[in-house]
C-alpha cells in the first residue's frame, strides 16, 4: 500500500467513524448490557483470530469498479435508516460499508476479511427476536412434558408451568432459549466457515440453528427438571439453573458436530 493510499484509507476510516459513532455506541451498549447479545464483544477478538488464521490469503490486488458497489449500497441504506428512523438498518448498513472499504483497498485479496465482517451481523440486535419467545417457550414446555410422559414420569402442564412430582416449574421467557439463539448463530457460522465441504452443506448447517437451539433448550430443561425431581427444587432452580447454559451449548455443539459428520464436513488441514 502506497503512502497516498494509506492516507486515503485513514481519512475514509475517520469519516466513516464519524458517520457511525452513534451506531457503534448503540452496539457496544447492547453488547455490554443485553444478555441476548453479550457475545458481540467476544466476536471482535474472534474476528481478529479468523483474520490471523487466513493472513496468508490477504494480499493487495487491483480493485475493479464493481468493488465500490457495497460501499454505495451501505451508505444508501445508512441514509434510508436516518430518514425512516430504522436503527437496525443503520447498524446493518455498516457491514457493506466495511466490506466495500476492504474490497476497494485490497481488491480480491480482501476475501478473508469478508466473513469476519459479516459475522458482526449475528451480534446486531434485531427487532422481533422477542416474538420467538412465546413460541419457543410453548414448544419447550410441551416437548419437555412429552419426554417425561414417554419415560413414564407423569407431568401436568398449566400454561407455561410444568408440574412434576408436586413441584411447579415456571418456564420463564428467559428459559425459552431465545437469549441463546444469537450466540448459537455466531458459533455455527464460525464452525461452518472453518469446515471444509460443499457450500450447500455449510449453509444447511447454519440454517439448522433454530431447531438446534430448540432441541438444546429442551434438553437443558429436561435435565433441570430431573435434577429437581432427584435432589429437590432448590437444587434445580438454584446453582444448576444458573449454570445450565453450559449444558445448552454442550448439547448444541454435539448436535452441530453430528450434523457436520452427516453432511460430510471436516476441519482437516484448515488451521
Amino acid at each position: 500500500m502506497t503512502k497516498k493510499e494509506f492516507i486515503v484509507l485513514f481519512c475514509s476510516a475517520l469519516l466513516i467513524a464519524g458517520l457511525y459513532h452513534e451506531v457503534m455506541f448503540w452496539l457496544f451498549r447492547a453488547w455490554l448490557n443485553n444478555p441476548y447479545y453479550s457475545h458481540g464483544l467476544l466476536l471482535l477478538p474472534v474476528g481478529g483470530v479468523l483474520v490471523y488464521l487466513k493472513r496468508g490469503e490477504i494480499y493487495c490486488a487491483e480493485s475493479n469498479e464493481w468493488h465500490i458497489l457495497p460501499l454505495g449500497v451501505g451508505l444508501l441504506f445508512y441514509l434510508l435508516g436516518i430518514i425512516l428512523h430504522q436503527h437496525v438498518l443503520l447498524a446493518f448498513s455498516l457491514l457493506p460499508v466495511l466490506a466495500g472499504i476492504a474490497l476497494i483497498f485490497l481488491g480480491k485479496g480482501a476475501k478473508p476479511l469478508l466473513f469476519p465482517i459479516c459475522l458482526i451481523a449475528t451480534a446486531i440486535p434485531i427487532p422481533f427476536l422477542e416474538w420467538l419467545t412465546v413460541t419457543l417457550q410453548n414448544l419447550s414446555g410441551t416437548s419437555v412434558s412429552g419426554i417425561f410422559w414417554l419415560i413414564g414420569m407423569p407431568v401436568s402442564v398449566a400454561g407455561n408451568s410444568i408440574i412434576l412430582a408436586g413441584n411447579a416449574y415456571w418456564i420463564a421467557p428467559a428459559c425459552s432459549g431465545v437469549n441463546r439463539v444469537m450466540p448459537l448463530f455466531s458459533l455455527t457460522a464460525i464452525l461452518a466457515y472453518l469446515y471444509r465441504g460443499s457450500a450447500a452443506a455449510r449453509i444447511f448447517l447454519f440454517a439448522l440453528v433454530i431447531p438446534i437451539a430448540l432441541a438444546s433448550n429442551i434438553f437443558r430443561l429436561f435435565i433441570t427438571l430431573l435434577i429437581g425431581d432427584w435432589y429437590g427444587i432448590e437444587a434445580a432452580v438454584g446453582f444448576f439453573h444458573n449454570c445450565s447454559s453450559i449444558i445448552f451449548f454442550f448439547f448444541a455443539l454435539m448436535l452441530i458436530f453430528a450434523f457436520a459428520r452427516i453432511f460430510k464436513l471436516s476441519m482437516k488441514s484448515q488451521l
Binding site: 458517520l19 448490557n33 480493485s63 436516518i82 440486535p125 421467557p173
Partner: protein
C-alpha cells in the same frame, strides 16, 4: 489521485451533506429528540414529538410524580418481580383510583436501553401465560390542555397540538386448565423514545392496565384507562410539534438563498466525484476537435 479513492471520499462527503440536510436540528443536537409512538421499532407515522417534563433517568425525580391527579389518588405497588421479568428499570408503579370508581388502574413507567430484552406487553403477557383476546390502537384525547397554550407554541411555528395521541390497546385473558377464564385485563401502552441520529438511546414504556369483567364488554375499563392516560400525560410531557428537516428549514425560511445553499452543499462533493470524468470527456472532445 486515483479515481476510486476520489469516489470514496466524495461519496462519504455527500452522505455527510445529505444526512445533515435530512436531519432535524433535534436529531443532530447532543440532547436528541423525544417522541411518543405506539411501536417500539421504527416509526408508526402517528408519533408525536414531546418535551419531557420529568427526568426519567432520575428515580428521585420520578418519585415526585403527582400522587393525586385530577380526581385520581394513588398508592404504590410492588414491582420487583415485574422488573426481573422485563429486564428493565421500573421507574414508577402506582395504582390509581377514582373517588367514584373502586377498581384500581395500574400505572407503570419502565425504561430500558435494550429493546430486545425489553418485552412489549404484546410479547410479555403471552409469555406470562395470558392469551391475547384483542389488539389494536386507540386515540386518547388529552383532557387538560392548559399546558398546550404556552408561548412556545405559536401559529408561526406550525406546531398545533391536535389534542390526541395514539396508544396501543390490548385485551388479555388468563384461562384455567378447563378453559374457563379466570382473569381478563385491558391494557393501554405507548413508548417514549429518546433518539439521536435515528439511534435509540433509551426507550420508556408507559403502561396502564386494569381488570376487566370476565365476560361481556370491556368498554368501561377501557374508558377508565383512557381517562387516566389523558390525565397523566400533561404531568409528564409538553407537546413540541414535529421539527422540520434542515433542508426544509433552509427552503421555507430562507427561500431562494436556502435553495442555493443546498445546491452548493450537494454540488461540491458531486463535482469532486465527477471532475475526472468531466476532464476526460473534455480532453476527448479537444482531441477529436484538433483531429478535425
Amino acid at each position: 489521485m486515483k479515481q476510486t479513492f476520489r469516489i470514496i471520499i466524495g461519496i462519504i462527503a455527500l452522505v455527510y451533506v445529505l444526512t445533515t440536510l435530512l436531519s432535524t436540528p433535534g436529531m443532530v443536537s447532543p440532547g436528541g429528540v423525544s417522541l411518543i409512538d405506539t411501536q417500539i421499532q421504527g416509526s408508526s407515522g402517528k408519533e408525536i414529538f414531546v418535551r419531557t417534563k420529568l427526568d426519567f433517568a432520575h428515580p428521585e425525580q420520578m418519585e415526585q410524580f403527582p400522587r393525586t391527579i385530577e380526581e385520581w389518588h394513588s398508592t404504590s405497588y410492588n414491582w420487583s418481580r415485574l422488573k426481573e421479568r422485563l429486564s428493565a428499570d421500573v421507574l414508577l408503579s402506582r395504582a390509581y383510583r377514582r373517588h367514584n370508581f373502586s377498581a384500581p388502574a395500574f400505572f407503570l413507567i419502565i425504561q430500558g436501553t435494550n429493546m430486545s430484552s425489553f418485552h412489549p406487553p404484546v410479547v410479555c403477557y403471552p409469555a406470562l401465560g395470558y392469551e391475547i383476546e384483542e389488539e389494536g390502537k386507540v386515540e386518547v384525547a388529552i383532557a387538560s390542555d392548559s399546558w398546550a397554550e404556552g408561548p412556545w407554541r405559536s401559529e408561526r411555528e406550525g406546531s398545533f397540538f391536535k389534542g390526541k395521541m395514539s396508544a396501543k390497546k390490548l385485551v388479555v385473558v388468563k384461562r384455567r386448565g378447563d378453559g374457563e377464564i379466570t382473569e381478563r385485563r385491558a391494557v393501554l401502552y405507548y413508548f417514549v423514545k429518546d433518539e439521536r441520529m435515528s439511534m435509540p438511546r433509551e426507550v420508556t414504556m408507559v403502561r396502564l392496565s386494569a381488570l376487566a369483567p370476565l365476560n361481556g364488554s370491556y368498554q368501561d375499563t377501557l374508558e377508565l384507562l383512557r381517562k387516566l392516560a389523558s390525565d397523566t400525560f400533561p404531568a409528564m410531557f409538553e407537546e413540541r410539534g414535529e421539527e422540520r428537516t434542515i433542508a426544509e428549514k433552509l427552503v421555507f425560511e430562507h427561500g431562494a438563498s436556502g435553495c442555493l445553499v443546498i445546491a452548493m452543499l450537494v454540488f461540491v462533493p458531486v463535482t469532486f466525484i465527477l471532475l475526472p470524468y468531466l476532464r476526460k470527456k473534455k480532453n476527448e472532445e479537444d482531441v477529436s476537435f484538433s483531429r478535425v
